[in-house]
Symmetry: C2
């Protein structure tokens, strides 16, 4: 009778072990795959200007463009065009020519978010700026989600910067580059700011 109970006890203990291992693996998977929730990712996002130099794959840039295209747009015009860059020479040429984008020398890629003026809404010729800014923000959050880093460097409405980007990337005249988003593997030096300010909130009226 004693040995019967010892066997039964062994089986029960084995079951405990298997069950806990399976549950523990599920729990571990939730913390090691890129599954930080969206709000945590939004709060962790920071402007990253220091990169290791490792290049981004086409697949990564395509994933980021897909996130950009998921933004809303006025009247669903989707006025954006994305130039995805992971050619070292092009990145270096842009770094040479744009004073505010020197981080491109060490970036692994870049996305230039452009507004197609043929998709403008008559009477609201600046909606493309809002739509492309929303798409750009989607890209920045997706970058953080992939544990990469990025910084949004402005191009529009600076005539000199717009001309420089247009020339290097051969952008047609009816398309305006809004920004150059430098993207790469962070060196780890950049950290998020806490920008929560009670004075920037009003309740129910001013």
């Amino acid at each position: 009778m004693k040995s019967y109970f010892i066997k039964l006890l062994s089986i029960v203990m084995l079951c405990v072990g298997i069950t806990n291992t399976v549950l523990a693996q599920n729990t571990k998977e939730n913390t090691t795959t890129p599954t930080k929730d969206a709000i945590t990712t939004i709060l962790n996002r920071k402007s990253v200007r220091e990169f290791t130099g490792k290049m981004l794959t086409n697949e990564t840039l395509d994933t980021l463009a897909k996130a950009g295209m998921a933004a809303p747009s006025a009247m669903n015009k989707q006025p954006w065009v994305f130039i995805l860059i992971n050619d070292r020479k092009t990145l270096n040429l842009m770094a040479d020519s744009l004073p505010s984008a020197k981080m491109l020398y060490k970036a692994g890629g870049a996305i230039v978010v452009c507004g197609d003026q043929k998709k403008n809404i008559a009477g609201n010729e600046l909606f493309w700026v809002e739509d492309c800014a929303a798409a750009s923000q989607n890209i920045l959050i997706a970058v953080e989600s992939l544990e990469l880093g990025a910084v949004w460097t402005g191009v529009f409405p600076d005539n000199k910067k717009m001309a420089t980007v247009r020339t290097i990337l051969e952008i047609p005249s009816d398309v305006i580059p809004l920004n150059v988003i430098a993207i790469g593997y962070p060196s780890g030096k950049d950290v998020p700011k806490n920008k929560y300010k009670k004075e920037n909130i009003h309740w129910n009226k001013w």
Copy 2:
């Protein structure tokens, strides 16, 4: 001896029960709290215009404003101000007065994202539009993350809409309302669009 093993077995079985309950609760928490990863959340986000009428708490609106304030801004000027609304009468008054915001009758709240013109950068008087659009997009993603729904309804640069919102919310003259984001508990009728288009991507140059 037999009763000793029965007692021991009972204790082991109790431990199994407690351990599995604790682990199961952890696992459950990971699926019911907002823990979808950020890219999935970005792709799931949709414009939600059909709400149940249930009101949003102050805490929820504050969380969304915090997400908004985590956006980047040109020269870190943070030119945004958020008017958080969960007063039924104010929501109804806005729905009465704004032709494109009738969904506010059933929304549980709203955020009006405004640009403080005192924080403008000389020579770049439209950067606030990009900054506030990026903040708005953060709010929309945070809304999706909380399993709520939202739709961005434009206000700027429509003079009539700007005057209406300014009057109802008593917004001072040096602050411009960019949009009204209607937020609420979705009725489940709105679904995400797949807006990925290969023709909106160029590689390394146009």
